[in-house]
């Protein structure tokens, strides 16, 4: 099963709010991942993102599900900037995972 989340339709072109990102990840994206389907995050029309949003949404998603780096997750229609911002959020997840508690 493929689940597509259109980010622009939910949050607009600027992904800013870390609190909302947390809620969205917890209530919608993680359940879709838990069902074992393929999750597509469509960034068409998204032009900017805060680190708060990126870390709360993508960083935490990867921390909870590192297996997604191999399969089950797809970032679609990212412009070069969004591509780098998504990568950076994943980097933070890795860095935090290596930090002592």
């Amino acid at each position: 099963m493929i689940t597509v989340f259109k980010m622009n339709e939910r949050f607009g072109g600027f992904l800013a709010d870390g609190e909302m990102a947390n809620v969205f990840r917890f209530t919608e994206v993680e359940p879709a991942v838990a069902c074992g389907g393929h999750v597509v995050l469509d960034f068409e029309g998204v032009t900017n993102m805060t680190d708060s949003f990126g870390n709360a949404f993508i960083g935490t998603l990867i921390q909870h599900h590192p297996e997604l780096l191999s399969s089950g997750l797809e970032f679609k229609n990212c412009n070069p900037l969004m591509r780098s911002l998504v990568s950076m959020a994943i980097d933070v997840a890795h860095l935090l995972a290596r930090q002592p508690a």
Binding site: F11, E19, S52, T60, S84
Partner: protein, 316 residues
């Protein structure tokens, strides 16, 4: 007691201005003399209104003196300075489109941020960039998004944000201030692991600006980890420096300032003054912000972060 407001406040003058604004109040009355006021940068405007707001909330009475001699009286009216305080003053001019010169002073309330976009950050960024896209717009939108969210999540009190573009110097200036709990109290209340009670306020400022330094980074929410990782302010500071801009932060008894890539300065306010809350000032020249994506990449590299090659396969 009367606080006589100075004529002009720019970045270098913020420590003296803030120290005077937050000097210990002698008595139950506090008047503000506006008669000399000519030009204030957004950080000075936002902290002035936050200071007045704090006095009124604390039951300190007072008046505004010399408004009609004040050269920037109409400007203050146009940016809704008095309206935000609930003071209706007659206007002898017609309001018109402000263009890119400024946007009205906006209130920021401590609450969850908006569901879509961050309209406040986007509006202010559009104003100072004179566009809804491009490098200056994106840097401004990002910076505003992060600092507005910080105020909402940490101040526990309403604050104010203001932005300004000065054509002559090509300077975008952003200021945000509140009279909330302040940075030290935020760390203390949240029992932040990196915070130590024996730290002085300058060390607390450094901690707040450091990578993963957020006072809430260790906390959990009903949805799992805290959305506060302590990255946004660090990245903002880095990008502003790389754009040869200025970054000023103050809370409690201390302030911290860096102009471009120069050596940072810090200090303690004179006469035992202590800010209730926090104030942040950002500024950069439009023509120095030419490649926002590269600026973000530089910031990340500067923090020692590198891309995981496994992420490449995730994009389509």
């Amino acid at each position: 007691m009367v606080i006589t407001l100075p004529s002009c406040v720019v970045e270098d003058g913020l420590p003296d201005f803030l120290g005077a604004l937050w000097q210990p109040v002698d008595g139950e009355r506090l008047d503000f003399d506006f008669s000399r006021v000519v030009f204030y940068i957004p950080a000075a405007i936002t902290m002035l209104i936050a200071r007045i707001d704090h006095a009124r909330r604390s039951g300190v009475t007072g008046a505004f003196i010399g408004l009609h001699e004040c050269k920037s009286f109409r400007y203050l009216q146009r940016i809704d300075f008095f309206d935000q305080l609930g003071i209706a003053l007659p206007e002898d001019f017609e309001r018109h489109d402000t263009g890119t010169a400024f946007v009205p002073l906006r209130e920021v309330v401590p609450s969850p941020v908006s569901i879509r976009d961050d309209p406040l950050a986007t509006d202010l960024a559009r104003c100072v960039a004179d566009a809804a896209e491009g490098d200056v717009f994106q840097l401004s939108q990002y910076s505003l998004g992060e600092i507005i969210a910080n105020l909402k999540q940490h101040a526990c009190q309403r604050g104010f944000v203001c932005a300004q573009y000065t054509k002559k110097s090509d300077l975008v200036r952003i200021g945000i201030a509140d009279s909330g709990i302040g940075i030290r109290e935020g760390f203390r209340q949240n029992s932040a692991p990196k915070y130590r009670a024996e730290m002085n306020d300058a060390q607390v400022l450094e901690l707040a600006m450091s990578l993963f330094g957020s006072s809430k980074a260790h906390m959990t929410t009903p949805y799992g980890e805290s959305p506060n990782r302590g990255v946004g302010l660090t990245i903002t500071r880095f990008m502003v420096a790389e754009s040869y801009g200025h970054f000023f932060l103050a809370s409690g008894t201390s302030w911290w300032f860096r102009n471009g890539l120069g050596t940072p300065k810090d200090g303690v306010f004179a006469n035992g003054a202590s800010i209730q809350g926090t104030v942040l000032s950002l500024g950069y020249q439009r023509d120095q912000v030419t490649n926002y994506p590269e600026l973000r990449q530089q910031a990340w590299a500067g923090l020692g972060l590198t891309s995981d090659p496994r992420t490449r396969s995730l994009f389509s």
